[in-house]
Subunit: 629 residues, 2 copies
């Protein structure tokens, strides 16, 4: 089975990911810190808030800061930054001094509801603990500093003690917002302390088996909301709050892998299939239901009222990553790619300091303005990314995903101990980068996904100790039908990888080119919102049209039978994009008649399309993904 590589061994050297990581370092990380500082989230770690003061700590604040630390930490792996580290160290110092003698830390409970620890499972307590653990692991990896990690081990030890002891005083067993499950697996990997793995398994196993917990959620949502309707192994559909659901299944996939649990693996696979076959937008967006930030029922994928939270798509990447490690199946990487370039990166402005919580596929600004005015904005999505959310989970989630992109790009399969075995190196995402592993260097040079062309160089540093052989596996993306590979000899595996043995093929440098024609996608007729319409895609990128390029009435745009798609280089806000144009008919008649027996006049025009993730960077305007055909 493929294994994760160390982030320090992947250096992103240029291209699309490099642009995003530069933005992340220079704009997003400092801007988010400022927002967190200004709202009191950073000082909350000092536990000095007292009743009646401004900036009362909120139940999820610790998680916001923890995710920011995690994201910032990944940037330190390749390049230490004294100033950034001292900001983080200062937060960690506060946390360590505030931690109780038992190891407990929560800036909300320790200042607002001291007596009520572990009494309300909906209050994100173990969720915050999980994110702090993830932050601690990342910071230790990046800097070698142990203070945060040790503090979190103490906390995890305490959680173990409280939750696995049936006689301890607590009001619930499993958390209302999952996250700690996957975090404990990370803590286990970093510390090798199996207790943390066991605790994760404990939470996964208990969920959905405790009658009392099912009822506690009834207040504002059904038990499905917190994935409590069934034991995890029995779940077959993605239910409830999308982020919670996918954090849980990420943890479940970890546990299935670590314990070789076939039943749990099967549940994870079934839920994955349910999502991608029945509950996922063409952009990858998931959890379309505004009511509860949740998965809806099969095929219910409204385009305008698409909740599709940025965090949900990030959580889907986490889940797919673990499913890939669990099964070695390429299809999970294909979904990571789809999520990343579309539903996730739509969550952040091209400049890097504004964020979407929701990522709809159809936007009418006048609707948002109206419903905002009458204070019922759940009926219409935003058309511009705000700088800040009160509930600020998405910005630091984007930060940590962007700064850890390297770990999704390469995987290896092999045994360091066994010299006879041939190592496998998987190139799963394409971007200019250098990957080093066991004395081998894989170098990619590419402008992917704007171009399908990738130059690959393989450098082997022969050491005296080993001349271990390896094979290179290059993912053929699920959207690709034709490619050219410049290697003298290669095979195509059943699972659609290009297998190159650099030693056999005798080449240390070759080109690879995935054809990226523009394609039209139809939705299953059960998705009635898309009836008679197509989405347009090139490579992994879903396209949309904006009013600023095409005028009003986007819903009336009809793509021509032979639309003559053309791709051209363009820019939005200094970001390079590939723009697509095509022939269409647009209604141009400005009529005052509401209903008419006569069809409204149309004109042939060129429609201008931009990558979905780059929408909403040019002011207030309409946006649409599904066009009449």
């Amino acid at each position: 089975m493929p294994k994760q590589v160390e982030l320090k061994n992947v250096k992103i050297t240029g291209g699309y990911f490099h642009e995003k990581q530069k933005m992340n370092r220079q704009i997003t990380i400092p801007a988010t810190y400022r927002q967190f500082y200004n709202t009191g989230r950073i000082d909350a770690f000092k536990l000095k808030w007292r009743s009646e003061q401004p900036n009362q700590p909120h139940i999820f604040w610790d998680s916001d800061v923890a995710k920011w630390i995690e994201g910032a930490a990944y940037t330190l792996i390749h390049k230490r930054d004294v100033n950034l580290e001292s900001l983080i160290d200062s937060i960690i110092e506060d946390l360590v001094s505030g931690q109780t003698s038992e190891g407990y830390f929560n800036s909300y409970y320790q200042t607002v509801e001291l007596a009520n620890r572990f009494t309300n499972r909906n209050n994100h307590e173990l969720y915050c603990a999980g994110h702090l653990i993830e932050g601690a692991v990342a910071y230790k990896k990046a800097t070698g500093k142990y203070a945060f990690l040790n503090a979190m081990c103490r906390y995890a030890d305490y959680i173990y003690e409280v939750f696995t002891d049936p006689y301890r005083d607590k009001n619930y067993i499993t958390p209302g917002h999952e996250e700690i499950e996957l975090a404990l697996v990370k803590l286990y990997h970093e510390t090798k302390n199996k207790k943390y793995l066991d605790l994760s398994k404990f939470f996964i196993d208990k969920r959905g088996t405790i009658d009392g917990e099912k009822q506690t959620n009834d207040g504002w949502a059904s038990s499905n909301y917190a994935q409590d309707h069934l034991p995890v192994v029995e779940q077959a559909t993605a239910e409830g709050h999308a982020v919670r659901c996918l954090y849980m299944f990420s943890g479940a996939a970890d546990i299935a892998r670590e314990f070789n649990d076939e039943k749990l693996k099967k549940a994870c696979e079934t839920v994955f299939d349910n999502i991608i076959n029945k509950r996922m937008y063409v952009t990858g967006g998931i959890g379309g239901n505004y009511s509860g930030e949740a998965f809806s029922y099969d095929y219910d994928l409204p385009n305008e009222l698409a909740y599709t939270e940025t965090c949900a798509s990030i959580a889907m990447i986490f889940f797919c990553d673990r499913m890939y490690l669990l099964t070695g199946e390429k299809k999970y990487i294909d979904i990571i790619e789809l999520q990343l370039y579309n539903a996730v990166l739509s969550g952040i402005s091209l400049h890097g300091d504004r964020f979407f919580y929701c990522n709809p596929l159809e936007v009418h600004p006048e609707r948002r303005d109206y419903f905002t005015k009458i204070r019922n904005s759940q009926f219409a999505p935003e058309y511009e990314r705000p700088e800040y959310f009160g509930c600020s989970c998405c910005p630091p989630n984007v930060i940590r995903l962007i700064s850890s992109l390297g770990q999704y790009m390469y995987h290896v399969d092999g045994d360091d101990q066994d010299d006879e075995e041939i190592d496998k190196i998987y190139v799963n995402l394409y971007n200019s980068s250098v990957f080093e592993y066991n004395g081998v260097k894989i170098i990619q040079e590419t402008d992917y996904p704007r171009s399908g062309k990738i130059n690959i160089t393989v450098e082997t540093q022969e050491t005296e100790e080993t001349d271990k052989k390896f094979e290179l596996y290059l993912r053929i993306p699920n959207w690709n039908k034709n490619f050219k590979c410049g290697a003298d000899r290669y095979d195509i595996t059943n699972d659609r990888y290009i297998a190159v043995n650099p030693f056999e093929s005798g080449c240390d440098q070759f080109s690879l080119e995935f054809e990226m024609p523009v394609v039209e996608l139809y939705a299953n007729p059960k998705v009635h919102y898309c009836a008679g319409r197509i989405a347009i895609k090139r490579g992994p990128i879903v396209y949309c049209a904006e009013g600023v390029d095409n005028g009003d009435y986007l819903k009336s745009v009809k793509i021509s039978d032979n639309p003559e798609y053309k791709c051209e280089q363009s820019q939005i806000d200094d970001n390079n994009i590939i723009k697509i144009t095509c022939d269409c008919e647009i209604i141009t008649e400005k009529s005052d008649v509401l209903y008419s027996e006569n069809i409204f006049k149309k004109e042939k025009k060129r429609l201008s399309l931009i990558p979905y993730a780059s929408w909403a960077n040019r002011g207030r305007n309409e946006m649409l993904v599904w066009f009449m055909k």
Copy 2:
């Protein structure tokens, strides 16, 4: 200007209206009484409810019962019914004994919040008073009994005293839910006491001029919600709660007519234009916004989330009726016809005992089931009419409209005193009926709107006192392009009436036939919900398709280029309807693929369409009005 006729002079003798009135008398009126009795609404008039007992009176209960009395009273005009009268008399006795010495009556305030009369304008107090007044006027007209009317005069006198005296103790001036304005005009017409007319004018004039009142609505809706944003004469768009808005403009149109107020008339005309040109569904439905049962902004007409309350369309009929009396313009009758046959009658089951509050144009039952399950049913409309609503305004509103249909059918214009002037008799709605006026009898025989053919007989009873001449004006409906009139001589007026002078034409019997081809309607592209789609209409009837006839995937139905529309007699629940069939393509492929580059397989089929108002009488199924073309 045309005048209203007395309901007693119009006898509906057969056809569509007769079926509805029979159902109303035999099913709807008794069933609604039972519901009201079982829920405590009838006994509430005894004012015996005490704290902690079941069935606490609600702020709008008086209005429910009052509308039921009004509706029942209209049925008594042509046929007295001792049992029905004794039920009503008993309620009236309770009311009269419960009325305070000042004349005040409100079953909620007198039992629940005795001290708080006239303190909370949102509590429907004057709204209830208005409906009681309308009920009292109707009951006096029907039976000649004065008890109810006199009681309501005392109440109106008291309201006059309280509200026009600036020194009296009350917390508001104008009601939060309009209705009393139009009721007071009716009371004035019945009693000739001008004080009531002045009080109505007072409420209309004051609205939107009082700063304090604007703020009282801020709690859950903007001041637009209660039409408080501007003085009535300055309003140019239909805003806020649709029923309130149109009850108010009904009153305003009355006041404009009574006081010859050109500015107020202009405001009424402007708002009417705003509605029909920008804020009305093709079915006539209005107030599409779920958030506040309200008008949305121009062209915002979502088909699935169409609130389009039955009461709002009834209120639109009241408004149009008064606008016709104010202006004599036929266009108002055209809208009455559209509302009646579509958005209003959709509100009641064909059997007569189940009711829709909302009348959407697209329904997916699985969506309703899902959102009901997660307790957020505002995101999906009902697909079956319930027997009863907690908020039960619509059923008695349908009752009183159906039982008073006669008064919308005929109008007259002439002066009884002036023998020289030629009387004008307008036939505005077509249905088998006999209308008697000044010694003239107009007899219609027709199956309209199922057929466009009408036989008209004119009988003049020559009296010795007068042989006054008259002209007959037959409305040419706005949807009609061709008709055949069997009268030997007739003219077409500028306002699209067929003018027949029976004496000149020498005929006392002739036929009239309006061609009723099936037509396809396009919506203005600004209504993006209907982009690329058509609605199908025949005569005044809008059609829809249901899943029970056509299977699933209605949104994917594409009407063929030459659809060969065919009309045929059919029945639903023993009601005669004209069914339309046409050629279309329907996707029939049952695929598991969510998104595909290949178009899903279609088949040519005949689509079966039924009148919109008869949908949802055959169990749980999809429904759609707008089809791809």
